[in-house]
């Protein structure tokens, strides 16, 4: 029996807890290695060969290659780690949020300048309407 998680009913949110830390360990260690330029150079020269050094799952590996940012979080990635892969690709935090929310950079930036996403309708799964949010 796992622990009951009182945060599972928060919509649009992946809480990076100890279970996800376990599942995502090698994926996250790969991502953080890209903090250093010398590693980015090796990765960018041959992504597949670089990924061979990290014993992540086949799905995690493919999701890295696909740059499916939301899926990376669903399978154990943490945003502070996946953002290093994004940075390698020239994508900053705000642009990454534009991708993860499906809003695109301009609409997301505009929302932030106008005060951010309202918590109204965004606290519980049963009140969350994804289309309405974007």
């Amino acid at each position: 029996m796992g622990m009951k998680k009182d945060y599972d009913d928060i919509p649009g949110t992946i809480v990076f807890d100890a279970d996800r830390g376990r599942e995502g360990y090698h994926l996250n260690q790969f991502c953080i290695s890209l903090r250093l330029q010398k590693n980015r150079d090796v990765f960018n020269a041959n992504e597949e060969a670089y990924l061979d050094k990290y014993p992540m799952t086949a799905e995690q590996r493919q999701t890295v290659l696909d740059r499916d940012w939301n899926r990376l979080l669903e399978i154990g990635g943490n945003i502070y780690y996946t953002s290093k892969l994004a940075a390698n690709d020239g994508i900053n935090f705000q642009q990454l949020a534009g991708l993860m929310t499906g809003m695109g950079n301009e609409a997301y930036r505009k929302m932030m300048v106008e005060g951010g996403r309202s918590p109204e309708g965004a606290r519980y799964l049963d009140e969350w309407d994804e289309k309405e949010q974007n």
């Binding site: 009182d6 945060y7 928060i10 919509p11 649009g12 949110t13 992946i14 809480v15 990076f16 807890d17 100890a18 830390g21 995502g24 360990y25 996250n28 260690q29 953080i32 890209l34 903090r35 250093l36 330029q37 939301n70 979080l73 943490n78 945003i79 502070y80 780690y81 953002s83 290093k84 940075a87 390698n88 935090f93 705000q94 990454l96 949020a97 993860m100 929310t101 499906g102 997301y108 929302m111 932030m112 300048v113 005060g115 951010g116 996403r117 309202s118 918590p119 965004a122 606290r123 519980y124 994804e130 949010q133």
Partner: protein
């Protein structure tokens, strides 16, 4: 005897550091964010602490997933600004008050807070951005006006330490500092927050009402505020809003009655609500 005279709560958004390092603080986007720190810099000059005890979180820089200490105290002689993927920030090396840090480490462990001791550590934007906003821009050749004791708190992998634990750690830090036998003025920083969510489909969440209430209660009801469960931070202030537990460490190190001398709140800095408060002890 060393004494804690004041506490500072302050966001540590990396984009704030980038804006300062690249000369964009006067842009329309950034101007209102930085305007709220003008008074803070004057206050820092007057307060002139010998030591800043700086509570922050590392962002997978000093600690990757291989080692995740809940509380890690910087005991090295100095801490270099780290390369977080776009080169180290062009700011001074952070110099520790190493004797006080080792005294605090020993005192806290005997006070039953089982810290990790860091004798080698680089520091990231979580530590250097609050120094930059409070002291203004300082270049690589320059020095920070105070020595800095860093305390890194895990808020990246859930669960972060509870607000209650943090508040009580703040009290223990005060006991440690007040038992240090040298007449030094210490200001404690609690950093991070305020409401923000960087990840997944709900990214961009900002809860101004909640943030303002947090700032209000930080002054008036610190004990009650420290009892807030993690799920409320996650739900109301966003998944990364749980960083706010670090402010309880700062608050716990102050008197129960404090004077709020300054406050600033601004949305947005990149994905984040910027919050800032200065609280002075009434007894010291």
């Amino acid at each position: 005897m060393a004494r804690i005279t004041a506490g500072v709560g302050c966001s540590h958004v990396p984009a704030i550091g980038v804006a300062m390092d690249t000369g964009h603080t006067e842009d329309d986007y950034w101007k209102p964010c930085f305007a709220g720190f003008e008074k803070s810099r004057e206050w820092m000059k007057k307060a002139n602490p010998d030591v800043v005890f700086l509570v922050y979180n590392d962002h997978c820089t000093a600690f990757d997933a291989s080692c995740i200490p809940t509380f890690a105290l910087g005991c090295a002689a100095e801490f270099k600004p780290a390369d977080e993927g776009w080169g180290p920030r062009p700011v001074p090396v952070v110099k520790n008050h190493q004797k006080m840090a080792s005294h605090v480490a020993q005192s806290l462990i005997l006070d039953e807070f089982d810290l990790t001791i860091m004798n080698e550590m680089e520091v990231d934007h979580g530590l250097t951005v609050p120094l930059s906003v409070m002291y203004g821009q300082h270049g690589i050749e320059d020095e920070w006006p105070a020595q800095v004791i860093p305390l890194a708190v895990n808020v990246v992998q859930y669960p972060a330490p509870t607000g209650n634990r943090c508040y009580n750690l703040g009290k223990a830090i005060r006991r440690a500092i007040e038992s240090y036998d040298e007449d030094l003025n210490v200001v404690i920083f609690g950093t991070g927050g305020m409401s923000h969510q960087l990840q997944y489909k709900r990214a961009g969440l900002i809860n101004k009402e909640w943030d303002i209430a947090f700032l209000d209660r930080l002054t008036s009801d610190p004990v009650g505020l420290s009892q807030m469960p993690h799920v409320e931070y996650l739900r109301e202030a966003g998944s990364e809003g749980v960083e706010m537990v670090m402010w309880h460490i700062m608050r716990g190190a102050l008197d129960e009655d404090v004077t709020e001398v300054h406050r600033h709140y601004h949305v947005p800095a990149s994905n984040t609500a910027v919050g800032h408060i200065i609280l002075e002890n009434t007894t010291s």
